[in-house]
């Protein structure tokens, strides 16, 4: 790697006012991402995971704490990371090709060059032949891949993916997970990946962070020791299952349930 990208979130807290009530979304959250690291984040709904992403992308400001890029403080965070929200959010009036070059276009780089590069990447992202299609004519999986390609083409070292496969069926999801690992290894990106799927979290990550229910705090950090590349690993391996069970227990505790409710 030429550069040494890094993202350091230091003691960040964030509260919202919600109809007179003060809601603490995040409380003293710290995480440091090594260059090329794949971190997945799981936690109950409303535990501030997406809020963390909003803070990192500069859509919101933390109340306390700081967020540091490239080992130095940054005044303007917007545009520093590649961000992919839960919905694919493709612009419906643009063709797939013009959607995926949005990043370079916003940076003021020449469109022709960006289009040429995007065309080269199309086959890798399973979009060959759909360059001139409009998003509404594509399947959910293809839209998601187009959104991912758009995120990759921003050329940022750090990518934030917020439940990118949440809305997909199980089979497409499996396929895209393996394919994401391929792409990640090839391009050496640092990835923060929010998911609700514990199995997905373990399968993809170097490190899994578990958030508690509101106020969101990191209650567990799990280093995934499974060997890489993982594409061919059986999802039934004992190691993977054990880690999943451990994470599920933590999640249950984070939700406030001592154990599984007894069957009546």
């Amino acid at each position: 790697m030429a550069e040494t990208p890094c993202l350091d979130v230091r003691g960040v807290s964030k509260t919202f006012r919600d109809g007179g009530q003060t809601v603490t979304a995040l409380e003293n959250v710290s995480l440091a991402a090594r260059p090329g690291e794949f971190i997945t984040i799981i936690g109950p709904s409303g535990s501030g995971k997406s809020t963390l992403f909003n803070l990192i992308t500069g859509l919101a400001e933390p109340d306390t704490g700081e967020i540091v890029f490239d080992c130095g403080p940054v005044r303007k965070r917007a545009g520093r990371v590649g961000y992919m929200p839960q919905r694919d959010l493709l612009l419906p009036w643009r063709t797939v090709l013009d959607n995926v070059i949005l990043g370079p276009e916003l940076d003021g780089r020449p469109r022709r060059e960006a289009r040429r590069r995007a065309r080269e990447m199309m086959p890798l992202f399973g979009l060959a032949g759909f360059e001139d299609a409009f998003p509404d004519t594509l399947s959910g999986g293809m839209r998601q891949r187009a959104a991912l390609l758009r995120t990759f083409l921003t050329d940022r070292d750090v990518l934030l993916l917020d439940e990118p496969f949440g809305a997909l069926d199980a089979l497409t999801r499996r396929e895209l997970q393996r394919w994401l690992l391929d792409v990640w290894q090839r391009f050496q990106k640092t990835i923060l990946f929010i998911t609700h799927d514990v199995e997905e979290a373990v399968f993809l990550a170097d490190r899994v962070l578990v958030f508690s229910a509101r106020p969101g705090r990191i209650v567990k950090e799990l280093h995934v020791t499974l060997p890489r590349p993982r594409q061919s690993i059986s999802l039934l391996s004992t190691e993977l299952r054990e880690m999943e069970a451990e994470l599920l227990d933590t999640l249950r505790a984070a939700n406030g349930d001592p154990a599984l409710p007894d069957a009546r």
Partner: protein
């Protein structure tokens, strides 16, 4: 549950879908024909009774003949032949110029007002009531005033067209801008876009379908606006032709003017539709695929 299952199966089995939708389409067409002929029949009966009434009254009062009141298509054609050069060289170009100039200016004015209201809550607060109140004043009264003050030229008529047309464009475009997906804007901001970039790349394109909806309404108003302006006072234009025809009691010419006005309006609306189809290809390739369109529109 059963309904959901049926819907699922319908969505998965392509064969059943096409057969079913074919039957559904046939049903729709039959229903359409029945409704249309019923409406047409009613209108014809209404119209016929109206004509009968008119003829009866005219005979009683003015001693007019049927031909005076309702010229035959042949007579209207004769009127066209008699005035063809005058209409084509003078009146129609004048009306067309006023219409197109007024409509273009209404587009600029309408979109500008919509953009200003979209940019600033203060301007929205100030402009919105003004906009609405401007529509409660009878435009006809203002138009008459304008033309009486500023006189014969085409300028005042263009202003009348603008007055007729800017409101639907401004209101629809504003609605379109406001309905743009805020998450799309957030995404662009997160990607480092300036607010100008976010507006140009998200809000403006998102407003285009609504804008064209407003433009279509404005296009139908615009020719009428120009004719109305000319009718009050002018040297050239279909409105003057119409007025002169009425004052010399040449109803064949008046009908000709009415038909030409309708034709111009229709052509303009069709032009707007064509431009819309080309400009909003994304909008019509995807969501509107089922919608076969209401005939010529």
């Amino acid at each position: 549950m059963a309904v959901g299952e049926r819907a699922d199966r319908a969505a998965s089995g392509a064969g059943t879908v096409s057969a079913r939708s074919w039957a559904a389409r046939l049903g729709q067409d039959v229903a359409r024909i029945v409704v249309l002929s019923a409406v047409a029949g009613l209108m014809l009966a209404f119209f016929a009774s109206g004509v009968y009434q008119l003829v009866a009254e005219a005979r009683a009062v003015e001693n007019l003949t049927f031909e005076d009141i309702l010229p035959s298509p042949g007579e209207i054609l004769d009127a066209w032949r008699a005035h063809e050069t005058l209409l084509l060289d003078r009146h129609i170009p004048e009306t067309l110029w006023e219409t197109l100039a007024g409509l273009s200016m209404a587009v600029v004015l309408g979109v500008t007002i919509a953009a200003l209201m979209d940019f600033s809550p203060l301007l929205r607060w100030v402009l919105y009531p003004v906009l609405v109140v401007s529509q409660t004043i009878p435009i006809f009264a203002i138009a008459i005033l304008l033309i009486l003050v500023f006189g014969f030229g085409s300028g005042p008529k263009i202003t009348v067209v603008v007055l007729f047309c800017f409101f639907p464009i401004a209101l629809n475009t504003f609605g379109g801008l406001q309905s743009a997906d805020p998450e799309l804007v957030s995404l662009l901001r997160a990607m480092g876009a300036s607010s100008r970039q976010a507006w140009l790349k998200v809000r403006l394109p998102a407003a285009m379908p609504s804008f064209f909806g407003g433009l279509r309404i404005a296009a139908t108003y615009s020719v009428v606006g120009a004719i109305f302006g000319e009718y009050i006072t002018a040297q050239h234009g279909l409105g003057v032709f119409l007025k002169r025809s009425y004052s010399s009691f040449r109803l064949d010419q008046a009908y000709l003017a009415i038909i030409l006005t309708a034709a111009l309006s229709l052509l303009l609306v069709l032009l707007v539709n064509l431009v819309e189809r080309l400009a909003l290809r994304w909008y019509y390739t995807s969501r509107r695929s089922d919608w076969r369109g209401p005939g010529i529109y």
